[in-house]
Every structure is written in C-alpha cells, then in structure tokens.
C-alpha cells in the first residue's frame, strides 16, 4: 500500500499573518510549518500503511524557496520520502494551478491512494483535492471521518450534515480527511533525527513539463479586494424578571425563527 499525502506548508498560525497589499496574497516570508489539518492525513496514511504491512507514505508539497520545514515534520512522524515542487513562477498560483502541479508531482511516484485535508488552514478554498483527483482521473471521496482499506477498495465514512454516508470506492482513489479522522502522533526525538536523512526530491515547473500551464501568470483567479470581517456584535442579555421566556420568544419571532 503506497500512499501519497498532499501537505501544505503554511506560515505559523501562532505568529501574526499579513496580506501583500498589492496582490492580497498571504505573505509567506520566513519559516513555514506543516499545516495542522495535514497532520491528520499524514497520520491516517501512516496507520493504513502500517496495517497493510507493506508500502510507504510519500509527502507531496508545493512551496516557495525550497521550504522543507513542514515536510520534515511529516517525515519525522514517519513518512518515507517527500516531493517538493518549488519554482518562482508558482507565486500567485490559484487552486487549479496548484492542483495541476500536485497532480503532476503525484504522478511521478507509485501510489494506491492519495490523501489530502478537506481544506488548508491558510487558503480555505477546499477545491484543490478534487481537482487533483479529476486531473489524475481518480474517483474522489471527500470529508472522510473513517478510512479503511479492504483489498482493492477503500471504505470511507463520509461526514454529512445529517450524519455520515458509508462509501466504497475502488483504488486508486483520492480521499480528503477531516480533523476528526485520527489523532496525529507527536514526532518522537528519533523521528526528528531520522527525518534529517530522508529523501526530499525537489522539482521545478520545467521538470513537470508545466511551464506556461501552471503558475501565477496563468492563474484564472484573482483576489480583487479584501474587506475586514465585521466585528461580532455583543449579544442580547435577557434578565429573567418573570418575563424571560416571553422575551426570548419575542426575540426569536423578530428573527423569524418562530
């Protein structure tokens, strides 16, 4: 069982983030870290490979400046190797460009399953994984809260608003996992040290044959302006002087809830 996991390296959410005033893109200077939401995918993949008894986990990432800090975290957790696509022309990529790049990178390795998070913590488009599946000609199952491999199929409990669907899908496939799917392990000291010597293959747009087909220059999507989110208004406090219930009903009526 070989699994490719898409991981995003993002600016540390514990430090203040900023947007570039002209492009409105997130400023990605400084050290990037493994997106927390991808730690679930890495953990899921490690557990599935472990259960299968053979195979390995490959991380696939697109990031500026040869950034590998976040990849090292995934390697320290137990992934065997990583593929990093880094190229100045990728600045300003939209979700489709990113999907093209990741799909091409995934295609350079052997895989039975591709895992991604449902969405990234810094972009939140949630569209990249399904585009990757489409580009690779794979079936995709999103919002997995439980993933099991059974022979040549993957069985997924797919989170829905009402509960969950049980989905069976032939392999190879792409699955996006939610934060609840598994509890990510902490990279152990041994893991951190062994990550140092695990292979990270770095590819450019030219290596993937995507010059002119992906990147900022061909992005079909542009952020034209950014507005501050409205501050949340303070709630209404109802003091119960005996008419509390009445006041609540009136309030709900006003909002047309009742």
């Amino acid at each position: 069982m070989n699994i490719a996991v898409c991981v995003k390296q993002i600016p540390d959410p514990a430090a203040p983030w900023s947007l570039d005033p002209s492009t409105h893109n997130l400023v990605r200077e400084g050290k990037l870290i493994l997106d927390d939401s991808d730690a679930y995918g890495v953990e899921m993949a490690l557990q599935l490979v472990d259960k299968a008894g053979a195979g390995e986990v490959t991380l696939v990432s697109m990031a500026p400046r040869n950034e590998t800090s976040g990849l090292r975290t995934g390697l320290a957790m137990g992934a065997a190797k990583a593929i990093l696509v880094t190229d100045d022309q990728l600045a300003g990529s939209d979700a489709l460009s990113t999907a093209k790049v990741l799909a091409a990178a995934i295609a350079t390795t052997e895989f039975d399953l591709v895992i991604a998070a449902t969405e990234s913590t810094d972009g939140y488009t949630g569209t990249t994984p399904v585009q990757i599946a489409e580009l690779l000609g794979l079936p995709s199952v999103s919002f997995a809260k439980k993933v099991e491999i059974d022979g040549s199929v993957v069985k997924v409990d797919r989170q829905t608003e009402a509960g969950y669907d049980e989905v069976i899908c032939p392999l190879p496939a792409l699955v996006t996992v939610t934060a609840g799917v598994v509890e990510p392990r902490y990279p152990s000291f041994k893991g951190i040290m062994s990550a140092k010597s695990k292979p990270v293959v770095t590819l450019s747009l030219a290596d993937l044959g995507l010059v002119g087909a992906a990147g900022g220059a061909v992005a079909g999507q542009e952020i034209v302006s950014v507005q501050k989110a409205e501050a949340r208004q303070a709630g209404v406090i109802v003091e119960d002087d005996g008419t509390g219930a009445q006041q609540l009903v009136e309030y709900l009526e006003q909002l047309k809830f009742v």
């Binding site: 959410p13 514990a14 430090a15 203040p16 983030w17 900023s18 947007l19 570039d20 005033p21 400023v27 870290i33 800090s69 090292r72 975290t73 320290a76 902490y186 990279p187 152990s188 000291f189 041994k190 951190i192 040290m193 990550a195 140092k196 950014v226 507005q227 501050k228």
Partner: protein, 414 residues
C-alpha cells in the same frame, strides 16, 4: 491593535500569544540546530495538550500519573543521553535541557521525573559500559518508561556532604551484602520503579573516608523496603520515597564500574546534570511570565489593565529578564558541553543563578496575582512551590559556591 485594509492586514488567526519571547523565551539562535527547533516545537505541542491541562490538579492531589509518564517515554525524553545501541536517542545535552525546560513551563513535577530518569539512565550506561548484557537487559525498557531507575545517593545524615556515606556493602563470597538507608529518592516508588543506582561504602576508610562504590540494586530484592511517599511543598506530583536496605544480597555483577570508584566517577560524569535543572529554572520563570501576562492583561485596577501601570509592567519585565538570564546560562553551558569544552564553572554558575532567578520570579509572580497568587490552583502558586527545591536539589547554593570558589583557586581552604 488598529488595522487598515490595504496595509498588510494582520489576520488575527492566533489563539496563543503572538509574541515569540512569551511562547519560546529569550531567543538563542546560535545555540540550536533545526532539529533542536523541531524537538522544541514537538515538546511544546505535547506539553500544551498532554501535560499542561492536568498539571494543577495533579499537584494538588500529589498524583504521579503513570499514563502520562509512559507518553513522555514514547516521545523519547528519558533516553536522550543513552547510546542508540541500548535503545536510546544518543542525543546531546541541549536536547535534554529543552525537554526539562519546556516541561517546567507548566509542570516541574514532570520535569524532575524526566530529569532523574534521564540522568540515571545516562549514568548507568556510563558506569556499566563493561557490562553490555546488563545494559541490554535494563536500558531499552527504561528508555520507554516501562522501567524507572532511580538515583540513590542522599542519606538521612546529609546530602551536601555526600561523600560521607553510612550505607555499607560488604563482600561475602561472590556477592555483596548491603545495609543502610537512602532519603529523598525520586522515581523510587512508581509502578515502573525497578532499580536504584545505589552508592555504598565499600572497604576500609583510608584518610577518614571509605571508598564508595555504585551498585544497580533491584527494588524487589529481598531486604529492600520502599518507604512511604514524602508529602512535599513542591514537585508534589513527582514520586519521592526513602529506601531501606536490610541484608540485601546482590551478585558481583551488580557492581557498576570499579570497586571503590563509583561515587567519584559518578560525580565527575554528572557535572552536566546541573544544567537540566538550570533549564527547569528557565522554564519555570517562563511559566511565571505567562501567568503574569494572563493576569495583568485581564485584571483591571483604577480604570485600566494592571499591566498598564508601570510599576506592574516593570515587575513583569524583571521576570522576563530573569528568565533570559537562566536561559542564556543554561544553553551556554550545554552548548559548551556538547562541543567538548569543560563546564565545571558553567554548570555551577548556571545552577546557582538560574535557581535563584526562579525563586525571585515566582515570588514576584505570586505577588502580582494578589490573592490568586496564594490559591493552590494558580499556576503562579504552583511555580512558587516548585521553585523552592531548585536551590536545594542537585546541590545547594553553598555547594555551587564551593565549586566556583575552588575553581578560583580557593579550593584548599574550603
């Protein structure tokens, strides 16, 4: 903070402090490799989610948590200084200092649990290097935390004058018969506690003092009694007991290192062990600063947050500076050790100053919290309780000053 759209817009994503000093302490880029940084960030995640949440209650209940102790073993903290051939991490001293520092930001009890296990395992690997079979039998399980090995030096008659030892081991046939007692022994009564590295006088005194040897004594050997848990002011969730030895028979294979040289060799080897304690002091000061920051930003007096009163902010600044002192001293010493430099001066100085800094910081923190600084559930109160031992264990300030004075050439007279 006022933000304009169009300027770089700070996205207020974060839940913890945005301030690198608050979350990581005084920056020491020269001291650390990228792997140290990864280890620190793993430790911070682990401490935040596993150690911090129950720290107050464990301290109040005087409860050593076995599950937590095993989770720390999984992370790899106990075997940091154990060679890899015995299942250890073969890491450097800075990695151990990072582990005790980050843990002590919230829980000094767990930090000392790590410290004692880590130094005992390192010492066992060092003294027992001629007994690979013994090491293969004991160390791999100790590295994971399934087995705890304690360090038994201090006696009821005194720890500062540790070379004066009344516990005796007498050779009988091919075995040793041990009689005596030890006091204040950390990690000696947990569900995992299986051995003590015991220091006992062997042979006749020459020039007033008996030679002292080290033994690895199983705690389930006949004649060993683990006394009741000490009720303590601080480190309350760590496990401390007295040990009694009554005609305990161990084979000659239990002798660690050369007969009569165990104590001297342990003392020489463990010079570095003051630095993880210094690191705990640094962590404790950071814990004080976090609790101060939380309190003085929330609490208001005379119409503004406490922290906006200069007299309050100055005290917080002093705590920050004390923490910086402890961090710099710790990692200067650890870096030198890791690069093969002598560290007698550094280890004694760091231990002396950091422990005193921690006590001062905890005093300030409890004061700034007002009445809450006297309530047992406050982090500041816990740090105050835990700070006191930092000037006592691993050598009192007097001991550190004796060592420093000797290095100044005043040795003969002290």
């Amino acid at each position: 903070m006022a933000r304009e759209v169009g300027d770089p817009v700070a996205l207020d994503m974060k839940t913890q402090s945005t301030n690198a000093f608050m979350s990581g302490g005084y920056a020491l880029p020269w001291a650390f490799s990228p792997e140290h940084d990864s280890w620190k960030s793993t430790l911070q995640d682990f401490v935040a989610s596993r150690i911090a949440p129950g720290a107050a209650q464990r301290t109040i209940d005087e409860r050593f948590d076995p599950d937590l102790a095993l989770a720390v073993g999984e992370l790899g903290a106990y075997g940091l200084l154990v060679p890899t051939e015995y299942g250890g991490q073969g890491a450097d001293l800075r990695s151990l200092c990072l582990a005790t520092e980050e843990t002590a930001v919230y829980d000094s009890s767990m930090a000392v649990t790590i410290h004692v296990q880590a130094i005992s395992l390192a010492l066992l690997a060092h003294l027992g290097k001629d007994h690979p079979d013994l090491l293969l039998e004991t160390l791999p399980k100790a590295v994971t935390g399934e087995v705890f090995i304690s360090f038994g030096l201090t006696e009821p008659t005194g720890g500062t004058d540790a070379g004066h030892i009344e516990t005796r081991a007498i050779k009988q046939g091919g075995d040793w018969i041990i009689n005596g007692s030890k006091q204040f022994i950390t990690n000696s009564g947990t569900p995992f506690s299986k051995y003590v590295i015991l220091f006992a006088a062997t042979g006749e005194a020459s020039g007033g003092r008996s030679p002292i040897s080290a033994f690895l004594v199983p705690l389930d050997a006949e004649g060993v009694t683990v006394g009741p848990l000490y009720r303590k002011l601080g480190w309350r969730a760590s496990d401390t007991h007295p040990l009694f030895f009554n005609d305990v028979r161990v084979p000659n294979a239990a002798l660690l290192g050369e007969e009569g040289r165990g104590y001297a060799e342990a003392l020489r080897f463990l010079t570095w062990a003051r630095l993880p304690i210094s690191a705990m002091s640094a962590g404790l000061v950071r814990g004080c600063l976090l609790d101060i920051d939380r309190f003085i930003s929330e609490r208001r007096s005379f119409g503004k947050p406490l922290g906006d009163h200069q007299a309050v902010a100055f005290q917080a600044a002093e705590v920050a500076a004390l923490g910086s002192l402890a961090r710099v001293m710790t990692y200067d010493g650890a870096w030198k050790y890791d690069h093969g430099h002598p560290i007698q001066q550094e280890a004694a100085t760091a231990k002396l100053l950091s422990a005193e800094a921690a006590n001062k910081a905890a005093y300030i923190a409890t004061g700034l919290l007002g009445g809450y600084g006297f309530m047992e559930e406050s982090a500041a109160t816990r740090h105050y309780q835990d700070a006191r031992i930092l000037t006592i264990g691993e050598g009192t300030p007097e001991v550190q000053k004796m060592l420093i004075a000797r290095l100044l050439g005043m040795g003969r007279r002290l």
